[in-house]
Amino acid sequence: MAVTVKTFASTSEAVGALSADRGARYLGGGTLVMRALNEGDVSVSTVIRASDKALTRIDASGPRVMLGAGITFARILAERDLGFLHAPARSIGGPAVRNMGTVGGNLFAPSPYGDFTVALLALEATIAVQGGFGTRDIAIEEFLQSRERQAGTLVLSVSFARPASADAFRYHKVARIKPKGGSVITLAAHLPISGGRIAGARIALGSMAPTQIRARAAERVLEGRSLDAATIAAAAAAVTEGTSPSDNALGSAWYRREIAGVHLRRLLSGQD
């Protein structure tokens, strides 16, 4: 079915068109919306695009990193200052998907996709969103819980504090097909160490709930402790608390619960 395509020079015009039409979807890299059109999704009647340069802005050099929503994973891999994000960017698709898929689109990718968002969740990113209300910043956790109700708004960018050291940010994706494939589970950890103790632990999980989630119980175990074997074992034992994984072709909910602690233990002890 043919759809109407509207391209705007500014994000504010695109937001106006998105909020005026229930059947409008914003087209970023195409890996979600074009797929929906190819599958005959009749809920999409209008495709909105914006050529606004603000969407491809990147500020990677300072202590606060900002990525425009239209930044592709290939662009992140080309950015030397974003080395800590290369593992999550490389874990997505093959080269063609990485040339197309964007940071903004990944926030909407349903399980078993959305791996980059797991990294952003562990980095406690802020999402800049434009809507009829103007522009506002939303904490990523709140954004993910309300992403199905984001119709009529447009993600402009994500921003987050750069991890203090290379060792303070860790990422691992478990997939059945290497080097690409949908996620069985995805883990990201932010573990800043201050005076030998963890201060501000954040653990994020993909494919362990309907959206990417924080593993709060494991975080509480880690907070204020040194990263020794006993702490790691206790965090691994707590990691599935509050999760609600599903069965799919890549793995059962039971299997996901069984392996989550194993992979968290390996991630925290530097084996993954």
Binding site: G94, P95, M100, P179
Partner: protein, 158 residues
């Protein structure tokens, strides 16, 4: 529904088409231009057989909105041959038995070209990474990897 006029370069030649709104580049290439070399596989971004180069970058044509290539350069397998001669990659695929049923071959060749254009002497691991978005269900990946390495300077046995 109004059609959109669209001009772009297709294998070095200027083309102009009228596409329905929402038409993907794969449909535009096959049905409006008549270039049948990019194949339809999954329509979801999972198989890679529709891969083409857009301004030299590997993209999935089935997930590309046709009108986004206006004014840009699109290369497909059809543009790979050099007059009556096969491209060195095509020759290497033939010599290394790297195309059995041939359905994945157009995407494999374009992914390989994207790699060799920016990295003429890739390692085996880099070849594996470069074709990781392209699924082959019958030839097997080993002859394909060998062929790409052979085309890149004969490091694999031909």
């Amino acid at each position: 529904m109004a059609k959109t006029a669209l001009q772009f370069r297709h294998n070095g030649r200027d083309v102009a088409i009228f596409a329905d709104g929402g038409t993907n580049l794969l449909v535009a290439l096959r049905e409006l231009i008549g270039d049948m070399t990019p194949k339809f596989g999954c329509g979801q971004g999972g198989c890679g057989t529709c891969s083409v180069l857009i301004d030299g970058e590997l993209h999935l044509s089935c997930l590309t909105l046709a009108e986004t290539v206006a004014g840009r350069s699109v290369e497909t397998l059809d543009g790979l041959k050099q007059g009556p001669n096969l491209h060195p990659l095509q020759r290497a695929f033939a010599d290394n038995f790297a195309a059995q049923c041939g359905y994945c071959t157009p995407g494999m060749l374009m992914a390989a070209k994207a790699l060799l254009d920016r990295n003429p002497q890739p390692s085996r691991a880099e070849v594996v990474e470069a074709i990781s978005g392209n699924i082959c269900r019958c030839t097997g990946y080993e002859p394909i990897i060998d062929a790409i390495l052979a085309a890149s300077g004969g490091r694999a046995s031909a």
